[in-house]
Amino acid sequence: MRYTLTHLKELEAEAIYVIREVFAQFENPAILFSGGKDSIVLTHLAKKAFWPSKIPFPLVHIDTGHNFPETIAFRDQLVENLGVRLLVGSVQKSIDDGAVREETGKNASRNALQTVTLLDTIEEFQIDAAMGGARRDEEKARAKERFFSHRDDFGQWDPKNQRPELWNLFNGKKNMGEHFRVFPISNWTEMDVWQYILLENIDIPSLYIAHEREVIFRNNTWLPVSEFITIEEHEKVETRMIRFRTLGDITITGGIDSDADTLEKIVQEVASARQTERGNRADDKRGETAMEDRKKQGYF
């Protein structure tokens, strides 16, 4: 008997430990659920952490209104299977209430507006620890994140003044009105996530699997045709075999040409990929420190 874990089992053990710490140290935690693979894996880990109890906190979805219908159907089914509560924060409502103003123009997106809705939702439900599926390998600003990441009473992140995190001793102490973002799968890479989905046979939305879809070529990516985007005259609608590597709002999530129609093929495709997964995300391309700027405001 070798007393050693594989890398996936060690990452799993670390994430489950962090999730249990959140439950033990906070009064009102929640999982930020986007419908993407990372938050699906996070939810799966939470299920494992508390089995045979149900997940003892709600899932929170920040709904931009610009969704893939598949994401919403998947979300509702998952919530039903798990028997957990779903809380929805609606960007449309924030717009209607006048809390935010909708962007206009060709590349208009509700991505940045989510921050306001997210912070309002955290306040409304008095969530003191919002767990997310963000990973350090995703983006350079995220490489500097803690597992337990403190947010002041405006929801802001101060990256230069973070609490040191040593061993597995996590400090969730805070004042009233402040909250934490917690990232249990900080140390996972895109590859780890896919290998784990394959290993554990986790159900994921069909959008990740290669399928035929009407798309236009814009900003170097295949953007899905939906009622939320304006197609210009010179842009040609094509039907192509594509899949998505990340899932966000339908207006900013580009697909890649792919014939990976099984999890095994996706793992192979990821192994040979030469572009990062967020390379197809328009939200990260608004300047060199787009992610850090949004994160400081309180973005995911």
Binding site: Y3, H7, E12, Y17, P159, P164
Partner: protein
């Protein structure tokens, strides 16, 4: 990568120490690049950013220095984590800045590392910074040290120079408590002995750096002797199917647990037997560090977070008085007789620093006995009194049950990290 090789990969966490001048970014860049862990769009964006800054080579530091202030000032502020994998192992690099707040950042990076990679410049050999980094690695009990003697190309790949540096380092390291030290002569810039064997140093018969990282034996890095299970939370579903289920959730901090084992629960001292060890839906035959599991016992005893399940014949020390090597991590100095929140495993108490024994000069390892002020980046030996008993081991025996952090009650900040001595 063959189809199932990922089911047999291990995880190795290492920390890198050295300054930019030692070629640390170049080395990390090369490991990432040669293992195909840098993507085209990342490289393109680094190229664009390098040009914007008027640098004519591709500045690989921009890959890790992600924050705006870091990029503008050309410095690394905080520990950055980087990831790469080969078919044999997945690696997590905690890349710590060499200059600013080095102690705080290096201690943080070192706390979870299996291995420390220490860079030195072949032209300069063992310098003050080498000693400092090695001392912190030894203090934090990183099990393996790999000393990379870099820039061998600038000393004509001289075997003599390499041997001299190895000899100097060994002399210094005899004062440290590290069991496994290896030396690799490299040129990060040209790639000699990093991933591929150097043709310029045929006199070197050892392994390349990557091969060392891939094969170094890490199975024994965890404590598999002293059974320690700090309870994180109690799982009570109270559902129809699991009406009487009462499971103790936690991460094994040491030793091996099996169903049927006799156990004792601290602090109550009640004994029982392990009924089952559960992970979702499956009962497992044994649990060891660092697994996260749920343990059920034969008897109903009152157990809550912070309690520890151990073996009757191998128990930790139960004490309120701790002898600790403390690293101060906060800008505000320690206040005399101030109270702090102490976190140890899943346990929490309040404590007071009763006495400062001495401060360590981390460059010379000398004890300073006449300066007892504790400030940022200081390493001090102190006596701490906790308001309640803790179940502790010597840090050198078990990093999980031998470590503590102190939290300031007024700011909630983590102000210190400590290693327990018995």
């Amino acid at each position: 990568m063959s189809d199932n090789s990922y089911l047999d990969m291990q995880l190795l966490r290492f920390t890198t120490a050295g300054s930019v001048d030692d070629g640390k970014s170049t080395l990390i860049g090369r490991l990432l690049y040669d293992s195909k862990s840098i993507f085209e769009d990342q490289l393109e964006s680094v190229e664009t950013s390098s040009k914007k800054r008027g640098v004519d080579h591709v500045d690989l530091a921009l890959l890790t220095d992600g924050l705006k202030d870091e990029r503008e000032q050309g410095i690394t502020i905080d520990v950055a984590y980087r990831y790469f994998a080969t078919p044999k192992r997945k690696f997590i690099i905690a890349d710590t800045p060499g200059h600013i707040q080095y102690t705080r950042n290096m201690v943080t990076g070192a706390s979870t590392a299996n291995l420390a990679l220490i860079l030195m410049d072949a032209r300069h050999g063992v310098v003050e910074q080498t000693c400092r980094h090695s001392f912190i690695a030894s203090l934090l009990q990183i099990p393996h040290l790999v000393i990379c003697v870099n820039k061998m190309d600038l000393v004509d790949y001289s075997e003599e120079q390499f041997n001299k540096i190895v000899k100097d380092y060994k002399e210094f390291a005899s004062k440290l408590n590290v069991s496994d030290i290896r030396f690799v002569p490299i040129s990060a810039l040209n790639g000699d002995n990093v991933v591929n064997r150097s043709e310029n140093m045929t006199w070197y018969n050892g392994e390349t750096l990557l091969h060392t990282l891939e094969t170094i034996h890490i199975d024994s890095d965890q404590d598999h002797v002293n059974a320690r299970f700090p309870v994180q939370t109690v799982i009570r579903p109270k559902s129809d199917q699991y009406h009487d289920y009462r499971g103790y959730a936690g991460r094994v901090a040491g030793g091996i647990y099996k169903p049927g084992d006799e156990v004792v629960v601290l602090p109550s001292g009640f004994g029982s037997k392990i009924k089952s060890i559960d992970t979702m839906g499956t009962q497992i035959k044994e649990a060891f560090s660092p697994m996260s599991v749920t343990i059920t016992l034969e008897d109903d005893i009152d157990i809550s977070r912070g309690d520890m399940i151990v073996r009757p014949n191998n128990q930790p020390t139960v004490t309120q008085d701790l002898d600790v090597m403390l690293c101060w991590l906060n800008n505000s100095p320690a206040q005399a007789r101030a109270k702090y929140i102490l976190r140890h495993t899943t346990n929490e108490s309040r404590c007071m620093i009763k006495e400062v024994l001495y401060k360590v000069n981390i460059n010379t390892l000398h004890r300073i006995e006449d300066d007892k002020e504790i400030g940022m980046n200081d390493i001090v030996r102190v006596k701490i009194r906790s308001t309640k008993p803790l179940f502790v081991d010597e840090y050198n025996d078990n990093r999980n049950t031998g470590s503590i952090i102190l939290v300031d009650e007024s700011t909630n900040e983590t102000v210190a990290a400590g290693m327990i001595r018995l």
